[in-house]
């Protein structure tokens, strides 16, 4: 079955379009892709073709955007997305140890998904929460001042 927005999301999409001048429907690209990813988990070729159709652009123009922005996935990902910040302030505050620990615990490297499909581990650039370094995001939630124990708690809660 080809991808389609659910009626609610389709309505949301049409509301989104009103944010931009009529002749610039393409401007709704990022929000539309976010919406589609929310529904489908990742942006399959199917989804991209659908979005291209909605916005009146070519599929290459969608793929070009999808591959530019790290928050868009063009391949299936796990149920949970874990992003660990690895930039300077977090590095100064010990994120390497945290990262090693998570990798060991999940038995994955960055950009990989656990075998059971539950977690995709990503590295992230500075999450603008350096005061809480080291930090990570689990799905939409930010977690700071990480310690190995705290990480374990959070990971336990995921399973």
């Amino acid at each position: 079955m080809a991808f389609e927005f659910t009626p609610e999301r389709l309505a949301q999409f049409h509301e989104l379009l009103t944010h931009y001048p009529e002749e610039h429907a393409r401007a709704a690209m990022l929000p539309t892709l976010h919406l589609a990813q929310e529904q489908n988990g990742y942006l399959s070729q199917d989804v991209q073709a659908y979005v291209a159709g909605l916005l009146g652009v070519s599929e290459a123009q969608v793929l070009d955007v999808v591959t530019f922005y790290p928050m868009f996935f063009d391949a299936p990902v796990g149920k949970h997305i874990v992003r660990v910040c690895k930039t300077l302030s977090c590095d100064l505050c010990g994120c390497r140890e945290i990262i090693e620990h998570i990798k060991e615990r999940l038995e994955v490297d960055f950009d990989e998904t656990t075998e059971d499909g539950s977690v995709t581990l990503l590295s992230s650039e500075c999450l603008a929460a350096c005061d809480q370094a080291p930090v990570m995001m689990i799905n939409d939630d930010l977690h700071g001042r990480l310690t190995l124990e705290r990480v374990d708690e959070l990971m336990d809660a995921l399973e």
Binding site: L55, S124, C130
Partner: protein, 468 residues
């Protein structure tokens, strides 16, 4: 001289419970500026903003009044709040979105009315999920309360504000990259000239792009007047106000790294690096400072010799670095500066949009050289090679770049400054073929070899409000 003291204005009551809601915001004096605003016309407002000395908080520090004055005449015009906060070491916008979103809305109303804008966007960093949620809710409340929409606060003025989420690209913080991204494309910066946003911006229309913090200053300037605002900030002895580039107001400094109490500190501009570190509880465990980045990762690093530089636009520029985004990253004696630079170069290599040749190729190249040195595979001459390659992307000595946007210089600034100022530590890596962390006194190149220091800095007048 007492201990440095915070002066909260934007961050006042930011921790108050439910400050992100309209009710609580109003109870703390929110939206008061709208009472005065509509009695002022565009010209008067331009004068106020210009006279206040407000300078952009997004990085470049351009006078807001100067930018407003350049706004093109075409219709429609747009306003964009830049909430893409991604400069490593910077996190003050995050808390405004999460805890005081109405302050941003109020600031945007002021800017929109002044500039004749009826449609405004907030480009929110994709990872700011809570911030966006709170801001969306605040906008919703504002519409319901008649503060936004067809008739703003009962006046004959329509304004719509929309949020637009990014998707994890640092370069979308650059204003023209942001505009491209807002138009639904990859966030590749545009060529200036001709694409100065104030002339040709989003949808090819005149567009004003401001950082969240810049806009958040506006309500306070309207409420309290330019004189009040001018009274805040650095004044140099023997220099009449208004002659020197202004450093008025408070600044949200984001202090992180090896300090006891990392966080956002709002102080008047003019305090020194040393004082800000002290404000943040000092270096962790009483350690020695090795390096401080004063204005977000792109700003050239400062050595322990340079900690008495006042952290304002003018003095940091004289010290050949910049206030940038106000992100202060403190590194103590345990830090390996090569590893720190490798970390930063990794960031830049990952975030280069890849559009223009020097940056696309030069940034990862720089990273590779640093990584090699850090991994103990450095070769004699590598430090100069590193400096040359980085300077070929953008030359920090002549302040010229061959790139489309200033990301180029944001790469070579840290690269060259680290390599020069911590040259002994870099050379030690190469000589010993492994990572070695030298004691501070040995790691830093002596001041006379330091490209920026010593410098004659203007003397900043101390104000009673700065200390307690």
């Amino acid at each position: 001289m007492g201990k440095p003291k915070e002066r909260r204005i934007l961050y006042e009551n930011i921790d108050a419970p439910d400050m992100h809601t309209l009710d609580v915001y109003r109870r703390h004096g929110g939206y008061a500026s709208l009472e005065k605003l509509f009695d002022l016309n565009a010209e008067q407002l331009l004068d106020i903003v210009r006279d206040s000395g407000l300078r952009g908080r997004g990085g470049a520090g351009v006078s807001a009044g100067f930018k407003w004055n350049l706004m093109g005449q075409g219709e429609p015009k747009y306003l964009i709040a830049n909430a893409d906060e991604s400069e490593p070491g910077t996190f003050s916008n995050r808390y405004i979105l999460q805890h005081k979103p109405h302050m941003l809305i109020e600031g945007m109303i002021i800017a929109a009315w002044s500039l004749g804008v009826h449609k405004a966007y907030v480009y929110v960093r994709g990872e700011f999920t809570l911030g966006k949620k709170r801001l969306d809710a605040a906008i919703q409340e504002a519409y319901e309360a008649g503060i936004l929409g067809e008739s703003v606060a009962g006046h004959d003025f329509a304004l719509d504000i929309y949020t637009h989420a990014g998707a994890g690209a640092y370069i979308c913080g650059e204003e023209t990259g942001l505009i491209e991204s807002l138009e639904g494309k990859r966030g590749q910066p545009r060529v200036k000239p001709p694409f100065f946003p104030a002339a040709i911006g989003v949808f090819m229309q005149p567009t004003m792009v401001h950082n969240v913090e810049t806009l958040s200053n506006l309500p306070y300037i309207i409420n309290n007047g330019t004189e009040w605002y001018q009274s805040l900030g650095a004044v140099y002895k023997d220099t009449p106000r208004g002659v020197d580039p202004m450093n008025t107001g408070t600044k949200l400094y984001c202090v992180s790294g090896h300090v006891e109490k990392p966080g956002v500190y709002e102080v008047e501009m003019g305090l020194t690096v040393r004082e800000l570190v002290e404000l943040a509880g000092g270096v962790r465990g009483g350690n020695e400072v090795k390096a401080v980045i004063p204005g977000g990762s792109s700003a050239p690093v400062l050595t322990p010799y340079e900690l008495d530089v006042p952290v304002d636009f003018t003095c940091l520029q004289m010290a050949k670095t910049m206030l940038g985004s106000g992100g202060i990253i403190v590194m103590d004696e345990t830090t390996c500066t090569v590893r720190a630079l490798e970390n930063l170069m990794d960031f830049y290599a990952h975030e280069s949009c890849g559009q223009c040749t020097p940056c696309r190729v030069g940034t990862p190249w720089t990273r590779d050289i640093v990584a090699r040195i850090e991994a103990g595979k450095g070769r004699p001459g590598d430090v100069d090679h590193l400096i040359e390659v980085a300077n070929n992307v953008a030359n920090i000595d002549t302040f010229t770049w061959n790139t489309i946007c200033v990301f180029g210089i944001a790469v070579s600034w840290p690269a060259v400054s680290f390599a020069r100022k911590f040259r002994p530590e870099f050379e030690a890596h190469i000589e010993q073929g492994k990572c070695v962390t030298l004691p501070v006194s040995e790691a830093v190149a002596p001041p006379e070899e330091n490209y920026a220091w010593p410098q004659e800095l203007p003397e900043v007048e101390r104000k009673p409000t700065w200390d307690y």
